[in-house]
């Protein structure tokens, strides 16, 4: 039987690109451009389905198969779109038929010189402790190693 759990977390990632906000935004708003970079692990993942209806209330679906592993399913709904400035969408992630997380993603495109500072904020609930295709375990191991090293240094 599945052990039920719900863990909440928030994180922020920032990147700076030399391209102007309109061009960075376009890479998120058109299906063709997004297919060039929004993909699973290189060499291990093949796309099964890709649909993007980029408008408020529109859906996005990206399904793919990890070689020798589960089918990944990204299912999103767009809630806020301010051209060249902001995108807010909610999305669920499935591995095969297990829902592993539901998140709210906010992407902000801020002019910086002639380029763009992209700020991505993800707020999510991680369900039933499922392993995110192995990355959760790797994350745990890395963290515990660092913590252990810090405590050893402190001792």
């Amino acid at each position: 039987m599945t052990k039920r759990s719900a863990d909440h977390a928030t994180f922020v990632i920032e990147r700076t690109y030399s391209a102007a906000p309109a061009r960075v935004f376009a890479a998120w708003s058109t299906a063709e451009a997004k297919a060039a970079w929004f993909v699973g692990p290189a060499g291990k993942w093949s796309v099964l389905e890709r649909k993007l209806d980029f408008r408020v209330g529109g859906r996005e679906r990206v399904r793919g198969a990890i070689a020798g592993g589960p089918v990944t399913d990204f299912d999103a709904c767009y809630f806020d779109i301010v051209p060249n400035e902001r995108i807010v969408y909610a999305y669920g992630m499935h591995l095969d038929d297990r829902r592993i997380s539901v998140s709210l993603a906010t992407i902000e495109f801020k002019p910086q010189g002639t380029g763009t500072r992209l700020v991505l904020t993800e707020q999510g609930v991680f369900l039933d402790g499922y392993d995110d295709a192995g990355s959760r375990e790797r994350g745990t191991r890395g963290l515990l190693d660092q913590l252990e090293a810090a405590l050893r240094q402190a001792a």
Binding site: D7, A9, F11, G139, A150
Partner: protein
């Protein structure tokens, strides 16, 4: 439950462990739960100062405390830290990869002759 308000969680952990007094508190809690006055006993500091250090430890996710009646009991919280930290690490890794590729894609648009060049 952990709520980092967007701060990098590992930074908070290291920040929490950067203080010798807080390390004494963590070492004490690693041996088992303790009250705030237990934690304060070996330290040369006031109870309000201990409470402040406790707040930093709680914000880092390393320690959890619970008040029952007039006694606040503190315990180390490796399990909660492990779960949320690991999830963040996994999802961050996914986004870092995707945003790297976005950078390559944007650079390739600038320079179609060298489609894999990084910006």
């Amino acid at each position: 439950m952990l709520n980092y308000e967007g701060a990098a969680p590992l930074d908070l952990v290291f920040q929490a462990l950067a203080d010798p007094g807080r390390r004494v508190m963590v070492e004490r809690l690693a041996r088992g739960p303790a009250s705030v006055s237990d934690l304060a006993a070996p330290l040369d500091m006031s109870l309000p100062a201990v409470m402040q250090h406790l707040q930093v430890l709680e914000a880092s996710g390393l320690v959890r405390s619970e008040k029952v009646g007039r006694v606040r009991t503190c315990r180390i919280e490796p399990a909660g830290l492990r779960k949320a930290e690991a999830w963040i690490a996994g999802r961050r890794a996914m986004w870092e990869r995707a945003l790297d590729r976005l950078g390559e894609y944007l650079a390739a648009q600038d320079d179609p002759a060298h489609p894999r060049r990084k910006s």
